[in-house]
Every structure is written in structure tokens, then in C-alpha cells.
Amino acid sequence: MAAISLSKLNKHYGSLFHAVKDVDLEIADKEFVALVGPSGCGKSTTLRMIAGLEDITSGDIRIGDRIVNHLPPRDRDIAMVFQNYALYQHMSVYDNLAFGLRNKKTPEAEIKAAIDRAAGMLGLHELLARKPKQLSGGQQQRVALGRCIVRNPEVFLFDEPLSNLDAKLRAQMRIEIKRLHAAIPTTSVFVTHDQVEAMTLGDRVVIMRDGRVQQVGTPLQVYGKPANKFVAGFIGAPAMNFVNVTVRTEGGATAVEATGLKLTVGEAYARALAPYNGKPVIMGARPEHLALGEGAAGLSFDAHVEVVEQLGSEILLETRLGSHGITVARVPAETVIASGDQVRVSVQPGRLHFFDTETELPITG
């Protein structure tokens, strides 16, 4: 039973590098939170501070009702899965699983029962006598997960645990982790640079950049209502298209314009964009919200096809509109199209995003 609370958490390395800046975060008991961001954004440092592997410069970390700022890792009742598995190479799988419990002087019979249960959950029974070197990457990561669950800790921490696995195995392990969390609901913090992992695993997603939290929200919130241009561009694959446009209101209709582009936006957008009349803003449109062909009136433009990526189930188009590259997803796979073609691209009404050019914050009515 442990919630985690970070307040005004800071980490300086020397006087020059400020890795984590004023991070505030409340993680509820049994919640699964994914920390995501580009490399060097401070997400791993934050996790290591929760684990106690990294000193904190200022701020507070609570696990349950204890402030753990200066507690050594072994007293925090946590378990951690590392990117490179971090199994004890000189011990058998069984001894790896037993290590933590033996340190707590748990009776061997209890240890055996706990390992049996974990091995059953993760399908490790055949591997118990082997050494980590004799296991594949996926098996090693399952042992690492097993080592966490036998200890039955209050908090699970995951530090990019799937990064070393190949794509197929990664998808499998993702499901395995999800299943595990359903079976043994434990407060979990999962660090990844892969937004797909973050979105699929997290009850909530925390997006970080340059040591600061950019947005905290459910996957649907961060996708649908990004807190700024960075989040909008980071979440979603392929990434959101951004176009620098100018707002023009004429005769009661509001349009946004760029070279080769004039989109007449609906009522709600018009209200939000009213203060920006005549000024530049950044327009964002997700590739999956663009389609080929003439869509709703005043919401389409011509683009020049540069690259055609046939995925079998759909086509990804890289097109050019003036100085902007525009990606179009979800083009039916059977569409006959070649690079060099001129296509008509339409925007789904109500699916546009606008950001202030200065603050990069969303413009909402």
C-alpha cells in the first residue's frame, strides 16, 4: 500500500548541469505511471532518485507515509528492473530470485514457495538451475521481473526494461508486464523513451523534457489535449505535422494561411484564434487525421508526394507543402500513388491544434 509523492524534486550535477528541475508528481497507490521523454530529459535520474541510487539535491520523496530522502535503497521496500537485466551473473536463476529474500533472512521454505509462485507466473520453472549467461534476452528480463515479484515490494521501478529486446519480444513483454500488473497490482513507475510503451502501459503518462515535467495525464489526455507543442510532437507516431500559418478573418470567416494552403476553420477555432488575427501561429495536424481527397469544404490543400511507404495495411505518405514536410497516414494500401504525384489532402474537421509561436502553448477558446 504505497503512494509515491515527489515534491519540488531537484538534481544538480556539479554547478553546471541541472538534470531534474522542480518535479512535482503524485502517484496513487497501485497506479502504473510511465515517465517518457527524449534521452537526457531527466526521467531515469528521477527514477534513480526514487530508488535511492542517486542523491537528491533538494525536494522531498515520499513512499507511503515515509519521507525517504536519505534512506538507502535497501530500506525503501522497492524493486527495480534494469535495462540490461542486471542479473547476478555468478548465481543460478534460483539464487538470483532468492537473493533479496535471503538478505531479509526469510526462511528457505518461504523463499521456495515465493519462487515457485513467481516462476509459475512467468514460466521460469525450467530455467531455475541455469546461469543468466545461458538465457536469451527475453528470458533474462523475465527472471529480472521474477526477482522483483518474489520480494513483494511496495513499489516496482522499471528503467527502460524493454529497450534491449527486439521489436517482437518487446511487444510480448509489454503484454506480460501489463498482465503482471493486473495480477499483482503494485504501484509502478516505468521509464521509457518509447512513447508507444508509455501510452500502452501507463494508467497515466508523464512527459518530461530538459528536466521538467511537461504534462501529466491519461494516454487519451496527452494525445488529445497536449499541454504544449513539444508534447504534441512527442506523443503519437508518426509525429504530428506542424505548419507555420497566419490567421486571417474576413467577412466573418476565419482562415489560416501559408504558402499553398488556405484552410477555413470552424466556429470553435475561430473564437480561439480571434486575438491572433493577422498574426502567425503554429498549426498542428496528426498524420492519422489527414486523408487523401476533397474533404469538408475549405479544409483541403494540394501537396507534392515525395516518399511513399507501403506498410501492407496502409500507406504512409511523405508530402511537401511549400517549405513544410507533411506526413499523411492511413492511406488505403491499395491506393495507386507514386512519388512526384500531386495529391489533394484534406483535414478532418475539429482535429486541428494551434500553438502560440512564442510560448508554444495551445491556443484554446
Binding site: R74, Q83, Y88, H90, G100
Partner: protein
């Protein structure tokens, strides 16, 4: 894609003659290394009258070995060398392993200063340590004692081998130790129970190197010891007397001194190779 084959040496020759040449070359190189040892063994088996005609006579004897072994000074030199080598290995490993670990894992000023110190001492030629060490051991009153020989050896090992040990630990993933710390170990506990066992091949390799280094060492033994703690390498050289050279005795002693070193090198070889590969 074109298949690229490595060009053979002497491409004009047929394969069997290439193989023969290769075998001869190998044999030649091995012989060049083995010849002094063979000559030494042969000399040790010849009676005193035959040492200058090792290759001619047919008379062999174990008398030189018996004579050498009946000399208390030589026997105690063997024991001393074995004892000092073993103690130096144990003590220097105790320090070297933890110092290598510190150099690898900690980046604070203490680590940098330690690294700098070792570096400076490594750059100083080995021979220029000896004279100051002689004065130091004299003034501390440990000249010609076990301590007086052990301390310099341990110091040299630490300077020479901490670097190697740092390299080994650099190759071991630190997250294993983090996992141990989360699993209930202290920093020391993680070092002793996880890092050290993982470095065991490297530590064994280092033990072999340390032991051989001390066993074969001559300069410290010559300058820092006298009659109370004779070392085998020095005793061996003392067959050069005013009355002439006792080649047969010197050879017999040398052969006996070779045996432990040879055995350790032979059985330690796989650890050395595995350890140095980490």
C-alpha cells in the same frame, strides 16, 4: 559479391611444402625459447667436471640437487620466496581489488587524486625506487625482514595492477550492484557479494601475475634483504664466488625455482587468458 580469400604466403609453393615450412618456423621459434631451459636442465644434471662440456659427456647425476637441498640457506630461501610471494599476492590483491573498484566506480576528487598518484608512481622507473626504499627500510628498522620486503612489493603491485583491475571492473555492469543494493545489500555488501564474485576470473589472473612477479623478482630481493631473509633469486646468483662459478649448483637451484613458477603459469594460464579478456 566476390569471394575474397586471404593471400597465402609464398603462393608459388605447393601446399605440403608450405605446411612444412610453417611447421619448421614454429619449431624454430619454440626451440629458441626452450633452448636455454633445456641447456639449464642439462647443466644441472652434469657433474661439476662436465659443466663446460654439457653437450659431450654421457655422465649424469642428481648430485647437484642433493648438494643444493642439503644447504639450509637454499632451502630457507625457497621457503622465504614462497612465503613472500604468497603473502604479497594476498595483501596486494586485498588492496588492488578495492582500489581498482574505487577507480572504476567513483569519480570524486579522492578517486582522481589516487589515480594521479598511481600514475606518477608507475611512470617512475622501477630501479629508481630501490635506493630510497633501502634507506626507508633501514631507518624504519625493517631492513632484511619479511615486512621490509613485503611492503615494497605490495606497493609496486598496487601501482601496477590497480589499473588492470579498474579495467576489469569497467567491463562489469554496475547495475548489478545497484540491483544488489535494492535487494538489501549495503554498498560494501554489493561490492563483496556481487562485484567481487563477478570479477573472480580477473582476480585469479591477477593473483597468478602477482605471485610470479614476486617469485621472479630480483632487484628488491638483492637490495632490501641480507642474510636473515634470503630469497631464491638472490641465492641463485651467489654461486658466483671468488673460487669460481658453481654452474652445476646454480643450474640445479634454477631448475627447482622454475618448477613452482612453471606449474603456476601452467594451471593459471586459463584464468589469465580468460581474466584478461573480460
Amino acid at each position: 559479391m566476390p569471394i575474397v580469400t586471404r593471400p597465402h604466403f609464398l603462393p608459388g609453393l605447393p601446399q605440403w611444402s608450405r605446411k612444412t615450412l610453417f611447421a619448421l618456423a614454429l619449431f624454430g621459434i619454440c626451440f629458441a625459447f626452450a633452448f636455454p631451459v633445456l641447456w639449464l636442465i642439462l647443466t644441472s644434471l652434469r657433474p661439476e667436471s662436465g659443466v663446460y662440456y654439457v653437450h659431450r659427456g654421457t655422465e649424469f647425476t642428481l648430485g647437484s640437487f642433493a648438494e643444493v637441498l642439503s644447504d639450509d640457506r637454499i632451502v630457507s630461501a625457497f621457503l622465504n620466496s614462497a612465503l613472500i610471494s604468497t603473502l604479497a599476492t594476498v595483501f596486494s590483491l586485498l588492496v588492488t581489488v578495492s582500489s581498482g573498484y574505487m577507480l572504476s566506480r567513483f569519480t570524486g576528487p579522492a578517486s582522481r587524486i589516487w589515480f594521479g598518484t598511481i600514475y606518477v608512481f608507475r611512470c617512475v622507473p622501477y630501479i629508481s625506487w630501490v635506493l630510497p626504499l633501502y634507506f626507508v627500510t633501514q631507518s624504519w628498522g625493517i631492513y632484511d625482514t619479511y615486512t621490509g620486503l613485503l611492503l615494497p612489493h605490495v606497493a609496486v603491485h598496487i601501482c601496477f595492477f590497480s589499473w588492470l583491475m579498474k579495467g576489469f571492473f569497467d567491463g562489469i555492469d554496475p547495475s548489478m550492484e545497484y540491483a544488489a543494493m535494492i535487494d538489501g545489500c549495503t554498498r560494501w555488501g554489493a561490492f563483496i557479494r556481487v562485484a567481487v564474485p563477478s570479477a573472480l576470473p580477473a582476480i585469479s589472473a591477477l593473483a597468478v601475475l602477482c605471485w610470479l612477479f614476486t617469485w621472479n623478482e630480483f632487484l628488491f630481493a638483492l637490495i632490501l634483504t641480507g642474510n636473515r631473509v634470503p630469497m631464491i633469486t638472490v641465492v641463485m646468483a651467489q654461486f658466483v664466488t671468488e673460487m669460481g662459478l658453481r654452474w652445476n649448483l646454480m643450474a640445479a637451484t634454477a631448475v627447482m625455482a622454475l618448477v613452482p613458477a612453471f606449474l603456476i603459469a601452467l594451471f593459471g594460464q586459463k584464468y589469465v587468458i580468460r581474466g584478461l579478456r573480460i
